[in-house]
Amino acid sequence: MLTLRFILKNLFRHKLRNSLTIVGIAVSVLSFGLLRTTVDAWYAGVEASSATRLVTRNSISLMFTLPVSYEERIRAVDGVTIVSRGNWFGGVYIDEKDFFPNFAVDARTYLTLYPEIQLNEDQKTAFLRDRKGCIIGVKLARRFGWKIGDPVTLKGTIYPGNWGMTVRGIYTGRDKGTDETQLMFHWDYLNETLKKSSPRRADQVGFFMIGVANADVAAITALAIDARFQNSLAETLTETEKAFQMGFVAMSGAIVAAIRIVSMLVIVIIMAVAANTMAMSARERLGEFAALKALGFGGGYLALLILGESMALASIGCALGCALTFPAASAFGSAVSQFFPIFQVSTLTVTLQGASALVVGLVAGIVPAWRAQRIGIAEALRRIA
């Protein structure tokens, strides 16, 4: 207990210096946590993807569409249990800064294929009955204050014109990773409108979403689908939903890598700051260490004092940083919800925050502790005299 008291009293010997170091560690841990959560948010779509779903798109790029007639031929492939279709609509509500993802989908098959989209039966029925109806995620509803029955008009960017629709359902996500910021409306509404306004763009699908019996047959099924459309005018590329989502993440791979590097740098910088604090503290206590050694305390005890102080410094900073991460992530997540619909601090992130603080504490204390162990008693006493 005396040793523990000694360590804690040492910790607050230079209140300002150590408080600033603790604040520095807390800010670093917080930054590390937020940056890691940002990376996690980038991968949220990948994490939320199902192993029993495939996505088929034009093999050239997502910008190119596929004929709707492919749907029946895909359905006929062995292993396929259900096929749905969708188009990225890219509509804007009021202004571009009010961005949210919106898709035209085949509602009935889509809701079957995506059971994580939780909609009560009444709303589901209302949505399926109303061809100009749409469903929105609960976060999106909260963001714009939309309620069931509210009219929503999207300004088409890919498909010009004003697209009026009515909110028929507000869904919630079954899983933590389910995106609750999307708007889905009927693909038929899009297609029938296109038939009138630009017939050449009608009957074209952006991507097919395919359900397979189990994950084991996914790869074979994907190959079979693509084989079916080989040498056609619109060849397909079929991949698992996870691979499909990863394709989007890969587009911003450099940014993600940069964020990862910065999150590590933050820890390295604070390591240097904490090491400097501990080196200064140890240097100032040279005489005390010499006296303790003269009294019979070994180098191990001095190392315990220094590393204990260093670890306590890092632990307090870490606890503060971790505690701040949750409200900060919540506030940051709300501010950037249109870009990162899922912004949640994971258990792994908190564990890594703790581990990084542990490393900071150890590294900051190890050199001063080693020096204190090697201190010559007579020489140190002579120097302070």
């Binding site: 207990m1 000694f6 050694k293 003269a294 009294l295 305390f297 006493l381 005299a385």
Partner: protein, 254 residues
């Protein structure tokens, strides 16, 4: 590994400290500076010895060697029958914790700990329980007249009180030998007198062997025996070389 113990026998007859042909030098850059040259003498149990001499004479170095916080170049030092020059660093640390009490010129108390905690500190190296440690520390502080200052930090104590706390810390483990390096060097005359009275009392009443380095003739007067050093050589009070047999040197006891 345990610290070797003194051979059984008549303890009162053997010297507490036996210094045999000790030499010590320091290296400064390329130069080797001899500090002690072939110094031999012994100190009997229960003796109060003052080491005097001008700055650089080697008296503090000799004290450090006796206390086992520095190493000899050659020669040997037997303390209570133990040749401390043969001990490893860890053995030496254990030996110091049991056998030596330190009194420093600048007290060297831990500023963040109270007087009681400072005195309790060396007892962490003993198997005593926390309660026993506190009781021992309180008793030591009572012995130096600081029972009413247990919770005071060093900065809240006068110089004399700090040195008394340091003396309590030195005696709390009940070592046979106290080594004091200029214990009154940082104190006013009144406080210095009180500290010397206290040390004399510890010597007279508890039988502690005391080796004290001092520049102050008044402090030296309190010792039973004064050994003088000059340029690393032990001299008698006539200025002759006393390196051979310290016991032949005259005492300056009043």
């Amino acid at each position: 590994m345990s610290v070797p113990t003194a051979p059984a026998g008549d303890g009162s007859a053997s010297p507490a400290i036996d210094i045999r042909s000790v030499s010590k030098s320091y290296t400064r850059g390329q130069q080797i500076v001899p500090v002690l040259q072939d110094v031999s003498f012994h100190i009997a149990r229960g003796e109060f010895v003052a080491l005097m001499g001008p700055s650089g004479s080697g008296k503090s170095t000799l004290l450090n060697l006796i206390a086992g916080i520095d190493r000899v170049d050659s020669g040997s030092i037997l303390v209570g029958g133990v040749d401390i020059t043969t001990l490893s660093e860890s053995e030496l640390a254990r030996w110091r914790s049991r056998s030596i009490g330190f009194i420093f010129q600048f007290y060297n108390l831990i500023p963040v700990l109270s007087a009681l905690e400072n005195v309790e500190l060396p007892l962490l190296l003993t198997p005593l329980s926390a309660r026993e440690r506190r009781e021992h520390a309180k008793a030591a502080l009572a012995l130096v007249g600081l029972s009413d200052r247990l919770d005071h930090k060093p900065s809240e104590l006068s110089g004399g009180q700090q040195q008394r706390t340091a003396i309590a810390r030195a005696i709390v483990t009940d070592p046979d030998i106290l080594v004091a390096d200029e214990p009154t060097g940082d104190l006013d005359r009144v406080s210095a007198g009180e500290i010397l009275d206290l040390m004399a009392g510890l010597n007279a009443n508890l039988g502690k062997t005391i080796v004290m380095v001092t520049h102050d003739p008044r402090a030296a007067e309190r010792a039973h025996l004064v050994r003088s050093l000059e340029k690393g050589l032990l001299i008698d009070d006539n200025g002759g070389d006393g390196g051979g047999n310290g016991n032949a040197d005259p005492a300056l006891h009043p």
